[in-house]
């Protein structure tokens, strides 16, 4: 097993854990943490592919990872703001209770 493969297995594992968290957790904040894990798994991929790829001097993978870290931060900020808005109305962050819209 090459080093790249072990990185890819680790990132696939991280992604799966994040997805499982996002799908099974009932608390909106824990779902948000799951999403962040998934994004970070992709970042790990970018770095691994950059480091072991044919053109490590091009820095594309690093750039992509940096941008996605920035985007993930913005996403967390917006997400927490929306969770606070929900909390104001429902007095809970439990997604099972947030079910006014249906159909």
């Amino acid at each position: 097993m090459t080093t790249l493969q072990s990185y890819l297995i680790l990132s696939a594992l991280l992604f799966s854990i994040g997805l499982a968290g996002a799908l099974t957790r009932r608390n909106a904040i824990l779902v948000l943490i799951g999403i962040e894990l998934m994004l970070n798994a992709a970042n790990l991929n970018f770095i691994a592919f950059w480091r072991y790829g044919p053109h490590p001097e091009a820095l594309t993978g690093v750039m992509f990872a940096l941008f996605s870290i920035g985007v993930a931060a913005a996403e967390a900020a917006v997400g927490l703001a929306l969770i606070i808005a929900i909390y104001r109305h429902y007095k809970t962050a439990n997604l099972d209770k947030v079910t006014t819209l249906k159909g």
Binding site: L32, M38, N45, A85, L101, G103
Partner: protein, 502 residues
């Protein structure tokens, strides 16, 4: 790395720069100068500033001819992208015109600022052929739209719709990013055309298929295709109506355009085959499946709706299914221009129609709500607006001579002609035609309430401002004229596609 002067860059990015500056101006004017003024005046001032910026951007787009491809597709400016940007800014302007009498918030400056930033995101989305900038622009658009959805802070459903939109969007973005990282690993590049070159000969590598599905998931979420549509009905219903109009029009236009580019340019060579009983793995059968599911579920679920905003959401899902046919038509590189022309014509006319429909819904909402019952006898309470509603609904259903009919006609022709030899996608076209017959039922349901049913005893005539009348009349006129004279729009689109060398 070639050096390029900032003045050239400003020349290429003029419209985006203007809109970003306008977003700051709207914020400063509202928070600085107008803080103590009455709310209607603040809406008017904010809308005025935004409209001024939008008009300047359109003037720039139509008068400054520039063509460039900077830094391997990170910024692509050609006649086609400029044309689509004009459409996007026009949709922003219509949305602004419909929000001038809004009462859902006191944060006027922030509202216009976010509308503008969402539009800037869409414009960058249109202008990039590099997955890095596509991802960043996609997120700029999405994050602005999440906030706009939840903008009505007093409303419980608005907050709920925003959170649902965000959570689905966040997971979809994570899938896209993971898919893009795999593609970067496989192709060693982030430029769409280089990806296609480097992927050629890989065939149906399992990892490539995983990456393909993950990328399709992300874009499928943005265009609200089944099975990634779950956010759409909730977001459309809960969002403030003008915000829903922008989500349904501008965001759709930009997402479809870039989706088409990613598929046709980035995954060129792994189309597979979608012809009946000759299926071969690739992106064509994947999108064909999404199209069938969207048309089926969208049209059937729309029949059961009582909220007209939800009905429009399911109709949007069905329309996403039709529009996917345009993407499928682009799978044949020799016929790509036809498919692109049909797609751009369809998304443009569809976007204009949807903004109009949401504009009418907003007026009806003032009389109590957006359920079908509230439309009863609407033609007697507001005749002009009801006629506009008729034009929009019939165009969505695809009745000639309205724009919706010609959009469908060109789209289905392009899809049927994609494989000239064996009429490969004909089965899908037949299915789409059958499904648009189904859609007529629920559009006519709305019109029946508005024109035939007697108004309720306590029904009050809605207040309609001059600006709303003007906007709706203009939109209805555009739908009729673009339907009667489709060459007015198709001609420029075809010229732009030729000039862009797509």
């Amino acid at each position: 790395m070639n050096a390029f002067s900032y003045l050239d860059l400003l020349n290429l990015l003029g419209p985006e720069t203007i809109l970003v500056l306008t977003s700051l101006a709207a914020l400063f004017v509202d928070l600085g100068a107008l803080r103590d003024q009455p709310l209607p005046r603040r809406w008017l001032a904010g809308g005025g500033v935004t409209a001024l910026g939008g008009l300047l951007a359109i003037l720039w787009l139509t008068n400054v001819t520039a063509q460039a491809n900077l830094a391997h597709g990170i910024l692509v400016v050609d006649p086609l992208t400029q044309l689509v940007k004009v459409v996007l800014v026009a949709m922003l302007l219509f949305t602004v015109a419909l929000s001038l009498r809004a009462e859902f918030t006191e944060h006027v400056g922030e509202y216009f600022c976010l509308l503008l930033l969402a539009t800037v995101g869409m414009m960058f989305l249109v202008s990039s052929e590099d997955v890095l900038t596509i991802f960043v622009a996609l997120e700029l658009t999405s994050l602005s739209l999440y906030i706009l959805t939840a903008f009505n802070k007093r409303s419980l459903v608005s907050a709920e719709a925003g959170l649902k939109y965000f959570l689905f969007g966040g997971v979809a973005a994570a899938f896209t990013l993971f898919g893009l990282s795999l593609i970067y690993g496989l192709a060693g590049s982030t430029n769409l055309r280089e990806i296609a070159t480097n992927l050629a000969g890989k065939g149906t590598d399992p990892l490539l298929m995983v990456a393909l599905i993950m990328v399709v998931m992300g874009f499928g979420f943005k265009i609200a295709a089944v099975p990634f549509h779950l956010w759409a009905p909730d977001a459309y219903q809960g969002a403030p109506t003008p915000a829903a109009a922008l989500i349904a029009s501008g965001s759709k236009v930009a997402s479809f355009f870039v989706f088409a580019k990613v598929m046709a340019l980035g995954f060129a060579g792994i189309e597979g085959n979608g012809a009946w009983r000759q299926f071969a793995p690739g992106w064509v059968p994947v999108l064909a499946t999404l199209a069938v599911a969207s048309m089926l579920l969208g049209n059937l679920a729309a029949i059961a709706q009582s909220s007209v905003k939800r009905l429009l959401a399911y109709s949007a899902i069905a329309h996403a299914g039709y529009m996917l046919l345009g993407l499928l038509a682009m799978s044949n590189p020799h016929r790509r221009a036809d498919g692109m022309a049909a797609l751009v014509y369809y998304i443009t006319t569809y976007g204009l129609t949807t903004i109009g429909a949401f504009g009418v819904v907003q007026i009806v909402e003032r009389t109590g709500g957006d359920s079908l019952e509230n439309f009863a006898g609407f033609s007697r309470r507001a005749p002009l607006v009801a006629v506009c509603l008729m034009v929009f609904m019939l165009s969505l259903a695809g009745i000639p001579p309205l724009a919706g009919f010609f959009g469908k006609f060109y789209l289905f022709t392009a899809a049927a002609g994609a494989e000239p030899g064996n009429l490969g996608l004909l089965w899908l076209v037949i299915f789409a035609i059958a499904m648009s017959a189904v859609s007529l039922y629920y559009y006519l349901q709305v019109l029946k309430r508005a024109f035939v049913a007697a108004p309720a005893e306590a029904a009050i005539a809605p207040v309609v401002s001059f600006m709303e009348r003007l906007t709706l009349a203009l939109l209805a006129l555009a739908v009729v004229v673009l339907g009667a004279l489709p060459a007015w729009l198709l001609g420029p689109i075809a010229d732009a596609i030729k000039a862009a060398g797509f």
